[in-house]
Amino acid sequence: MRVYRSLIIAACLGVLLSACGAGESNVTTGNRTGFLHYGNGAEPQGLDPHVVTGVPESHIVRAIFEGLAVKNPVTLEPEPGVAERWEISEDGTVYTFYINPDAKWSNGESMTASDYVWSWNRALHPDTGSLYAYMLYPIVNSEAYSKREITDFSEVGVKALDDLTLQVTLNAPTPYFLQLMDHYSTFAVHPETLLKHGKMTDRYTPWTRVGSMVSNGAFTLEEWSLNRRIIIEKSEHYWDKDNVSLNGVYFYPTENVVSEERMFRAEQLHYTQTLPLDKIPAYRERENSPYVQAPYLGTYYYLINTDRPPVDDARVRKALSYALDREKLTKTVLQDTAIPAFAITPPDTLGYNPPKLFDYDPEEARRLLAEAGYPNGEGWPGLEIIYNTQEAHRKIAVAIQQMWKEALNIDITISNQEWKVYLNSVSQREFQVARRGWIGDYVDANNFLDLFLTDGGNNNTGYSDPVFDDIILNRAPKAKSRKERYQLFYDAEKMMLEEMPIIPIYTYTSKHLVHPSVEGIYPNLMDSLNLKYVKLDPERSLNME
C-alpha cells in the first residue's frame, strides 16, 4: 500500500513539474511564424458548405473555400472570386460567369463550370436537406426541384457552356444575386472527393476531414481536433496566393466569453469573437484600445402575435413601441454597445436607410392606449414576454417591463424558456410577445423585409398584407434602378411598421478585441473578415497597463 501510494505521488509530482515552465505566448510565436490565433466562439458543427448554418462555421468555411464572387472587405460590393468576371444580361435575369483559368482545387485540379452545376444540384437536392437551399431559389426552377416537384436537374437554370463558362438564368432580376455567391451555401465542392466517401446527397460522410478535404480557398485544412482547435494553412494552389500574407490560422472554440477575454489578455489570442459587456468600459478608456465595435447587420426586436389580445389591436402595439425609451436602454443596460432601432432593416444597408416613423413618445403612447380602451392601464388584461434563457435578454426584458409600467401603468410578466422550448413556442405561435433577433445573410433590405411575407416561415406575427407581398415579390425585383428599388422597400417597410407587428429595439454591433499586431481587419456591417487580407506586424505590441 505504502509503496503504491508513494509511486502514485511521485508520478503526479513528475507530471506536474514537467508541465511547468512558462513559454512564449501564442501571439509572440504567431507573429514570428505568420500564424493568427483566432477566437472563434464555438466548435463548428461541420465544414461542409451545404450542411452548416452557423457563424463559427462560416469563418472557417469562407477561409478554406471561395465563392464565384467575394465581398470587398471595406465596401462589401462584389469582387471577382473564382469567377474572374461576369456579364449580366440587359433584363437582369441571365448571369454569365467566366471562371478564372488559374482557379484550382487544393489538390491542384482546375475548377470547372460543371463543378458548380454538380454542387448546386447537391445544394438544392431535397435529400441533401440544406437549410440554406433557398439561397439559390432566384434561379429558374430551383425551388420546384428542391421541393421535388421536378426531378430533372437539367430543367434548373444552371448550365456549363464550356469548361470555364457558367450560365445562370434567374426567375426575375435579383439585384442581390452576386451577394449570394459569397454565401457558403452556394460554394462549389469537389465532386470526386464527395463521391469517394458516399452519395452526392449524403450529409454526414467524412469527406470534410483532414486529409480527405479538397477545397478551393486561400487556405487548406491541416488539423481538426474536436473542441480544441482547427488549424488552416496557406494553400499553394490558390489563384491569388501571392496576395495572401498569413501562413495560417488557429481557430479556438472559445465558447466561454469570459475565458476568451482572459486568453486575449494573456496574449493567447490575437482576436476575440466578442467580449463580456462589463469589460467594455475599461477597454474603451484605454489608449490605443484593442476594442473594436461596429454596426452589425442584425436587429433585436420583440415579435408580436397579432392574433392574441390585447396586442391584436394595432393601437396597443404602437403604444408599447412608443413608450419604449431605446436611447436609455442602449445607454444603460447595453453600455452603448447597441444602436436604437425604429425599423427592422439596419441603417445604411448597402445605401438603404429605413423609415423612422416615430420616436420615444410616452404622451402619444398613453393616448393610443386609452383609445384602445385601457386609459391609464385600467382594465389591462396582462401581457407576457417570453425570451430564451440568457442573462442579457432578461436584463432587457426587465428594463422594458419597468418602462412600460412607468409610462403606461400596465403590468407585464416576463418568462424565460430554454432555447428549444422557446423556438417551439415561437414557431407554434404560442406567445403574446417574444424576443427575437435577425441577422442578415446578405447585405440587402430584402433579407429583412421578406420576413413579413404572408405566411412566411419566419413571420410568426400573423402580419399579412397583399400589397406588401406584391412589392417585395414582384415590384421591387423589377425596379429599374437601385434608387427606385430602395424607394419601394421604403414604402413597404413603412406600411409594415404602421401595423407594428414587431417592436424594433436595437441594431446589433459586432464587438471584438483585436491585437495591435493584426492589420487588415476592416469593421463592416457583415462582420465579414476575409482572412486573405490579414497581415501581422510583430513590431506592435499590446499595452495592457
Binding site: 507530471v15 450529409r203 474536436l226 469570459v258 482572459r262 428549444k420
Partner: protein, 312 residues
C-alpha cells in the same frame, strides 16, 4: 470474490437497461427537436433530415433500432455534428477528461490524505482546526469561482502558467487539475481524518504503541491501511463524478473534454449524443462503484472474510 463480482455485474444490467430506456423516451418527450433552429426550416428540408436520421419511423421502431445498434457498440451519428459519430466524439473527449480527472484525483489525494492524517494526529487542536477549516472552504468554494481566481493570480498577475488550453502550451494542465481536484481534496481530507480518528482509538493501535513503535511507524504501517478505507470507498464514485462533473472546469479552461459535449447535447436535443453520453457515464459509475467495493473488501480483512464465506 469472483462470485461477488459476478453477481454485482448481473445486477448492473437492469440498472443500465433502465437508464437507456428512461433516457430514450425522456429526451424525445422534451419540446423542440434537434433540427429546430432560429430560422424556419422548410418542411421538405425537415423531412429529408428526419429521413436521414431515421426519425420518421414510429418511436418503438426507433427504440429497438437503437438497442440493436447499441448491442453492436454503435452509439449512432451525432445530430449536431454531422459527419461525426457519437463513438468518435466520446473517443476524442474521454482521454482528455480522464487525464484531467486523474490529475485532479492525484492532487486531491496528495493534499487530502496528508491534511486529513495530519489533522487526525492531534484532534481538536490548531493542527486539526486549520487544515479542516481550509477543507470546509474547499468544499464550499465552487469551481466556477476558484478557477477564475487561480487564473487571475497565476495566469494574469504572476504570468506563471497558461490560462486555457490542454496540451497546447507547457503547464496548461496544472490550473484545471487543481481547480477540479480541490473540492475533492477537501472531501478526502475530512474522510481520512474521520477514518484515522476511528482507527487510532482501536485496541491494536494501542498494542502497537505499547510495544514501543515510533509514532510515524504506527501511523504509516498500522493505522493508514484501515484509516483510509472510507477514502478508497469514495474514490470510485469520485472518479466517475470527476468525469461527469468536469463540465465547468472544461468550459473555463477551454479543454476539449467530454463534459462540454455532455451538457450541450441536452440543449441541442442531440438525441443520440444525450443517450450515448448518459449510457456511457452510467456504465462507468456502475463499474467504478464495483471496483471501489472490491478494493475496500480487499483492504478490510473482516469484509474479505465475509466474501470468502459467500455471504455477499
Amino acid at each position: 470474490m469472483g462470485r461477488f463480482i459476478f453477481w454485482r455485474l448481473i445486477q448492473a444490467i437492469p440498472v443500465i437497461f433502465a437508464v437507456i430506456t428512461v433516457t430514450f423516451f425522456l429526451v424525445r418527450s422534451a419540446p423542440g427537436g434537434p433540427f429546430d433552429s432560429e430560422k424556419a426550416v422548410l418542411p421538405e428540408v425537415k423531412r429529408a433530415l428526419e429521413a436521414q436520421y431515421k426519425l420518421d419511423l414510429p418511436l418503438h421502431e426507433q427504440y429497438f433500432a437503437y438497442l440493436g445498434d447499441l448491442a453492436n457498440g454503435d452509439l449512432g451519428p451525432s445530430f449536431k455534428y454531422p459527419g461525426r459519430s457519437v463513438n468518435e466524439i466520446l473517443g476524442s473527449g474521454l482521454p482528455v477528461t480522464a487525464e484531467l480527472g486523474f490529475y485532479a484525483l492525484c492532487f486531491a489525494l496528495m493534499i487530502g490524505v496528508f491534511a486529513g492524517v495530519f489533522a487526525a494526529l492531534k484532534p481538536n487542536t490548531k493542527q486539526d482546526y486549520i487544515p479542516m477549516g481550509m477543507a470546509m472552504i474547499g468544499i464550499c468554494m465552487p469551481s466556477f469561482l476558484l478557477g477564475p481566481l487561480l487564473v487571475l493570480v497565476f495566469g494574469i498577475q504572476l504570468e506563471w502558467l497558461p490560462i486555457a488550453g490542454w496540451g497546447d502550451l507547457p503547464g496548461d494542465k496544472i490550473l484545471p487539475s487543481i481547480t477540479l481536484g480541490s473540492a475533492y481534496a477537501a472531501y478526502i481530507a475530512r474522510l481520512s481524518r474521520a477514518g484515522m480518528l476511528e482507527i487510532l482509538s482501536q485496541d491494536y493501535i494501542r498494542t502497537a504503541r505499547a510495544k514501543g513503535l515510533p509514532e510515524w511507524r504506527v501511523v504509516t504501517q498500522h493505522a493508514l491501511r484501515g484509516g483510509l478505507i472510507p477514502v478508497i470507498a469514495f474514490l470510485g464514485p469520485a472518479f466517475a463524478g470527476l468525469l461527469a462533473g468536469s463540465f465547468v472546469v472544461e468550459t473555463i479552461f477551454q479543454i476539449p473534454g467530454l463534459g462540454r459535449f455532455y451538457v450541450q447535447a441536452a440543449f441541442n436535443r442531440d438525441y443520440t449524443m444525450i443517450l450515448g453520453t448518459t449510457v456511457f457515464l452510467s456504465t462507468l459509475i456502475v463499474l467504478f462503484n464495483l471496483v471501489s467495493d472490491v478494493i475496500a473488501a480487499w483492504l478490510n480483512p473482516r469484509l474479505r472474510a465475509q466474501f470468502s464465506r459467500g455471504n455477499s
